[in-house]
């Protein structure tokens, strides 16, 4: 018997498909398990610090507190946004405050404090500040 007939008669198709599937499954499982191995070992080596790690994880998983703004505060935030747009991506806070005062914005100090508290204005390590568009969208719009 030759050809496709011989393959079918000896169950060749099934043996090949199942065979390659088993080989693949074996190596995929092995690959997945050894990919996690160093993480498990890290955990094991730092098992004494697991408490603080748990705290950090909990903190990380806690939902971000999003402040709710009044209509007036929202309006003030929109005006600050326009001012921030006239500046570079990273800006100095006193400069923004001065601009707000010059522009005649209502209660610039407390508005700025609110924007900082809500995370719309974020500080950088360099001492400058940036405008977080995503946070602004979440809170104001």
């Amino acid at each position: 018997m030759y050809g496709l007939q011989a393959i079918s008669a000896h169950n060749g198709w099934a043996i090949s498909v199942v065979g390659i599937t088993i080989v693949f499954t074996g190596l995929v499982l092995l690959s997945l398990s050894i990919a996690q191995l160093h993480k498990i070992l890290d955990l094991w080596e730092n098992r004494h610090n697991l408490g603080s790690l748990k705290e950090r994880l909990l903190k990380k998983n806690q939902p971000e507190k999003i402040l709710s703004f009044t209509e007036q505060q929202k309006e003030s935030a929109k005006q600050f946004k326009l001012l921030a747009r006239t500046m570079d991506d990273s800006f100095a806070l006193p400069k923004l405050l001065r601009l707000a005062e010059v522009s005649g914005l209502n209660a610039p100090h407390s508005s700025l404090a609110l924007l900082l508290e809500s995370g719309i204005i974020k500080s950088e390590e360099s001492g400058f500040f940036t405008w977080d568009r995503e946070m602004f969208m979440k809170i104001v719009q």
């Binding site: 065979g19 690959s31 050894i34 191995l37 070992l41």
Partner: protein
């Protein structure tokens, strides 16, 4: 006195010689030449080549000289081949000399070793289509794994009469890796792909290396218990190496044991290629299918690497796919060679060792699976 002289003459090799013995002696001499002059797998080709000379000296039956005579020395040594004793011992040595760091650093490369095993199963189908029995077809297909000990082991279990041609085909193609693989690699990859540089692998801890052989053994052997003799010895050898406290045993496994077994295996496999047994139409078919199997395995690894690149953020050099066949470390060396032809400052050898080693595990798993299906 004249009768004695005639009797003696009738027992000489010159009188008993057959054209098939001459052909095999020429083939054996070519093997020795390739091993010594061209450095193609000398540790394998020289013993096999000399074994061919030993096996093709014509002797008359009854003296207990030939490898197929029950009471001959060669027959006892050949017992290690026919009973599948030598291959696990070779795997022990391979395990004791292999560093699995690159595999542990980038486990995703293991999939390339799995993909290359497609050659085994496609050739199995091809051999069935050409009229070979399932046990013979499985033994022929395993040549695509490019792993001599695995091919011998499976053939000893499934089709002992084909050990000679299959072992010679497997080792010949392993030796010819630098000749067979590069054209396929260039054909299936673009220059741009061959120039891809691999990311530096992460540092792997000693504890990871120590745990790997245990995890690999348990996982693979629970899945395919028939792979136990090969994978068990491979992982045990590696554990001896990584455990540090068993360094003496590891040294014995990677030096004395593997060297002794390689000599015995090479010599007896070579000697089993007696012209009248070896030069048959099925041997020609085995060589033909073995070459196809090897080419398919190489191509499957390369194509799978290209497919992986469609999904990976950090692209891998698809040449690594060719190292999925388990000719350790030859196919990894070929990847390095082909990669450096395009960019001499691109070092792929270390990365290619990962699919290469997973190819060894994959082909042992493949052999185990075939053995359990076709008992």
């Amino acid at each position: 006195m004249e009768t004695l002289f005639i009797d003696f003459f009738q027992n000489t090799g010159i009188f008993l010689c057959d054209y098939r013995n001459i052909i095999m002696i020429i083939v054996g001499s070519i093997f020795i030449y390739l091993g010594i002059a061209k450095h193609y797998e000398p540790l394998l080709l020289v013993p096999i080549g000399f074994g061919m000379l030993v096996g093709n000296i014509p002797v008359f039956e009854g003296l207990g000289l030939g490898i197929y005579e029950n009471n001959s020395v060669l027959h006892y040594l050949y017992y290690g081949v026919t009973q599948g004793i030598y291959p696990p011992l070779i795997f022990l040595g391979i395990g004791a000399m292999t560093d699995f760091s690159t595999l542990l650093a980038r486990p995703v490369l293991m999939l390339l070793g799995a993909a290359a095993q497609a050659g085994i199963f496609i050739t199995f189908l091809g051999a069935l289509a050409l009229g070979f029995a399932p046990n013979e077809a499985a033994s022929i297909g395993i040549i695509g794994g490019a792993d001599g000990p695995t091919a011998i082991f499976l053939t000893a279990k499934l089709a002992p009469t084909l050990i000679g041609p299959i072992a010679v085909a497997a080792y010949s193609y392993m030796a010819l890796v630098p000749v067979i693989q590069p054209p396929i690699m260039r054909l299936l990859t673009t220059r741009k792909e061959r120039l891809i540089r691999m990311e530096e692998p992460r540092e792997v801890s000693k504890r990871e290396k120590m745990l790997f052989p245990i995890i690999a053994f348990l996982l693979c052997c629970f899945l395919a218990p028939a792979a136990l003799p090969l994978l068990g010895f491979l992982c045990f050898g590696n554990l001896l190496k990584e455990a540090v406290v068993t360094e003496r045993l590891a040294v014995a496994a990677r030096n004395a044991i593997i060297d002794t077994v390689t000599i015995l295996l090479g010599l007896t496999v070579g000697a089993s290629t007696q012209g009248n047994v070896f030069l048959t139409s099925s041997s020609v078919g085995i060589f033909f299918l073995g070459a196809i199997s090897f080419c398919i395995a190489t191509a499957a690894g390369l194509i799978f690497a290209k497919i992986m690149n469609l999904f990976l953020k950090t692209k891998i050099n698809p040449l690594l796919g060719a190292a999925g066949v388990s000719a350790v470390p030859d196919s990894a060396r070929v990847v390095q060679m082909v990669g450096q032809r395009e960019d001499p400052t691109n070092f792929l050898l270390m990365h290619a060792m990962a699919p290469n080693i997973s190819g060894v595990i994959g082909s042992a798993l493949g052999a185990g699976v075939l053995w359990s299906f076709i008992r």
